[in-house]
């Protein structure tokens, strides 16, 4: 006999502790899944309880189930198409009114709902008393009190879930919208019901309500249906905008009829969060505090990570020598030590950085500060054609573009997010710094610092111009409205923050890791073959490619060796330095020797060096970034755009620098 198995979906507003409840239920047994057809990722966890297997799907946090955002569409499509046995809605006990709005939407979908009344400890501490018995009676939905962060109430929640799941498909209970509207709804239901396919697949009342609300997504589901024309004609006669407002009002009215009877003192005015906001978003203090926090986060990331990074570096070095010493076949030894270990090394060496960065971001996010950061920066970002939420990813870009692009997920609007992703590679990531240091040190001496700083500024300017350009051409329109909840400040728990960090870190490892490893092996091959050439020299395949593309670099005054180095830089930008060392025959570790070689042998002048640095800054995003752009945009076209646009802009600017420099008499 097959084991009893149920599928549970977890829904709820953002910031209600949904993730903590999910973690409390499933523990470590989770994995990341992708929604069919879209790039929104979701977590799936498993739990065995009372001999029953539960598969728990963590749906995105939403306020409603309209077609306003991709998250909402994903959530309702999942409930309609996948028919989970029970939908658990996590409700913030200290903010019931708004939370219950989603409940009314779930009820309309005809699904079996269980409410996890979460964070009751906070509501209790505030002096609210919530009568869950009466709540169950009014809503006809089981209600369980939980404290996700402490794991309280989870067993009872699971018991109730299983009891509900065993009851089978749900009867309908719904919100009444008043006589007049009900008639209109009934009329539309009769029309839609004539299409058997729709009737079998969707809750008809829900379809009618959504159509009346002007839901384009639901209307598109009727495409090709025999009733489509009739529905459209019917909708022309009604004022959808007005109906949508009336329906929202009726739902809140229904909530307000129930709330005072189940909850006493559930309306509050002053909260500790408000006091904190008075300081953190203060007119004069807000920005300095924000900048200090960001600077602190970066400092911490790099200083804390540094010793771990050198430990990993030393360890890898020992391992490589051991391989060379013990593997007899020279080609194999080189593949293992230089190719595979080199690739793995690149992933590992950035791990401390990435994990610490993610941990700090998790703390900022869980504490509620992240949305304040967006709040503080929105005005500036809006002027640049971006969104307040674009700021953090842009800032992270100075560390590494890969996690930065992953962080754009918090941006709801597709265009806003796409622009933020596409301009991100122009933020000079940490890997580009060694290249700048080398060239600036070799050619600019005392002014090297100012030169490097100017490159960071150049990157920002290109990012801003690009954002403006995209906004006025292919991605026309204004940034999405800034309608965002500023959640109450909370003390992040160690468990949640660490899990958060681990989730993101693991995703980085999987995505960046595999692609960098692959890139490193390809690069090793190009540098080591045809057989017999010395590693990375001009007669290797890499060298040949470099010579082929050299004419492309001639107008900006760079020779084939720099071309090869830049080619390697595609795999990871820090390869540029090592590669130059090999090509100038001075070994890849001694930067002093590389500096001398560059000065005496390359035939380039400071103006060309500046051009080369600008080119390094702006050209191709590195391989890992390209792969993450592909993943996050879900589009090869935009990925190609990013690559080609980067190369074009890099060449143009480098060319302009060199020409103007020469004209002014430098070089």
């Amino acid at each position: 006999m097959a084991r009893e198995t149920y599928r549970i979906a977890l829904s709820g507003n953002p910031n209600v502790g949904k993730t903590t409840v999910f973690n409390a239920i499933t523990g470590a047994r989770q994995h990341v899944g992708n929604w069919p057809g879209v790039t929104v990722e979701h977590m799936v966890g498993k739990k065995r309880f009372r001999g029953v297997d539960l598969e728990v799907v963590d749906l995105p946090g939403t306020y409603s189930l309209t077609a306003y955002s991709a998250d909402e569409v994903v959530t309702r499509d999942f409930i309609i198409d996948e028919r989970p046995d029970v939908v658990v809605q996590v409700v913030d006990a200290s903010n019931m009114e708004r939370n219950l709005y989603l409940t009314t939407q779930l009820m309309e979908l005809g699904t079996r709902v269980v409410i996890a009344l979460n964070m009751v400890d906070i509501a209790d501490a505030r002096g609210d008393t919530i009568d869950t018995g009466r709540m169950e009676e009014f809503l006809e939905i089981p209600v369980v009190k939980t404290v996700g962060s402490k794991g309280e109430g989870i067993d009872e929640l699971l018991n109730v879930i299983i009891d509900e799941a065993r009851l089978g498909p749900h009867h309908e209970h719904e919100i009444g919208y008043g006589e007049e509207l009900e008639e209109t709804i009934a009329h539309l239901v009769r029309i839609v019901a004539r299409d058997r396919k729709i009737k079998d697949r969707y809750p008809l009342r829900w379809v009618a309500v959504k159509l009346l609300e002007g839901d384009e997504n639901v209307l598109s589901k009727l495409k090709g249906s025999p009733v489509e024309r009739q529905v459209r004609r019917f909708l022309k006669k009604v004022d959808q905008v007005e109906i949508e407002a009336v329906m929202a009002d009726k739902r809140y009215e229904a909530i307000n009829a129930v709330l005072p009877q189940v909850c006493t003192r559930c309306v509050i005015r002053m909260s500790p969060s408000d006091m904190i906001d008075r300081v953190l978003t203060n007119k004069y203090l807000g920005i300095p505090i924000f900048l200090a926090l960001m600077w602190g986060a970066f400092e911490l990331t790099f200083t804390v990570a540094a010793p771990f990074m050198s430990m990993i570096d030393i360890g890898l070095g020992h391992l490589a020598s051991a391989i060379h010493a013990n593997v007899a076949h020279e080609g194999l030894a080189s593949l293992l030590a230089d190719g595979i270990l080199g690739g793995v090394g690149f992933v590992l060496i950035f791990m401390p950085n990435i994990f610490i960065l993610f941990l700090l971001l998790a703390i900022l996010e869980d504490s509620g500060y992240m949305s304040r950061a967006a709040f503080i920066m929105d005005r500036l970002m809006y002027k640049l054609g971006l969104h307040g939420k674009s700021f953090i990813p842009m800032l992270m870009g100075f560390g590494c573009n890969v996690p930065a692009i992953m962080a754009t997920r918090s941006i709801e609007d597709r265009k806003d997010r796409l622009i933020t992703i596409l301009v991100n590679p122009f933020m000079a990531c940490g890997a580009r710094l060694p290249v700048f240091v080398l060239f600036a040190g070799a050619f600019f001496g005392r002014t090297a610092g100012a030169v490097i700083f100017s490159l960071y500024v150049l990157g920002i300017v290109v990012a801003i111009v690009t954002a403006k350009l995209l906004r006025t051409t292919v991605l026309k329109g204004r940034p999405a409205p800034f309608i965002m909840e500023l959640p109450p400040y909370r003390l992040p728990t160690v468990r949640t923050s660490v899990l958060h960090m681990w989730d993101h870190g693991r995703m980085y490892l999987k995505k960046a890791g595999t692609i960098i490893l692959l890139g490193a092996i390809i690069m090793w091959f190009l540098a080591s073959y045809p057989a017999g050439v010395s590693y990375g020299s001009g007669s290797s395949y890499a060298g040949m490619i470099g010579r082929t593309v050299a004419p492309f670099f001639a107008p900006i005054g760079l020779d084939w060796r720099i071309a090869v180095a830049l080619l390697f830089g595609f795999f990871a930008k820090e390869f540029v330095v090592g590669s130059l060392g090999v090509l100038y025959g001075v070994g890849d570790t001694d930067s002093g020797a590389i500096t001398d070689a560059l000065r005496s042998e390359s035939g380039i002048e400071p103006v060309h060096a500046y051009g080369a640095m600008a080119f390094t800054l702006l050209y191709l995003p590195c391989l890992a970034t390209v792969s993450v752009i592909r993943k996050e945009t879900g589009s090869w076209r935009w990925t190609m755009f990013s690559v080609l646009y980067g190369v074009a802009i890099a060449w143009t600017i480098a060319f302009a620098i060199v020409r103007i420099g020469v004209m002014l008499g430098y070089g």
Binding site: D249, A257, T281, I376, F482, L486
Partner: protein
Amino acid sequence: MDETTLDKIEPGNAAVVTRVGRHGHGRRRLMAMGMVPGTEIEVLRKAPLGDPVEYRIKGYSLSMRKADAADIEVRPNGGVNGFSRPMATIPEGDTGRIVGLHAGKGLARKLERMGFSLGSEIRILRTGRGRLKVELDGSEVAVGKGMAMKIMVEPL
């Protein structure tokens, strides 16, 4: 009380939503988040650069750009008064004075016709399931709890 738009209300003041603009880009999201006619909204503070603005609505903080707030019509409700609460939450036997009607134009007029005008004193006679009985200017009035949530009362 003159109608105005939400962007014109200065921090420290409150207003009641009367209409959410027909063309606003984020209208759907706003309504889901509680921006329906009759809701009281408090203006808390501007962001350090002057925009967006933090509001309080239905017990939580919401931020919005002024440009989006300009699509929301409101009726100013004066300074924030920490003492008023919905009539539905006043215990049986207690008295209070009506200080605000959190309703759109239509309902506000209806409530005023029923006698629930600003300044009137009320006493809660009985609270039941879906309704409550109220003494208003010497006569007895029955009102639904949904409606009673929209009548703001200062306990006496």
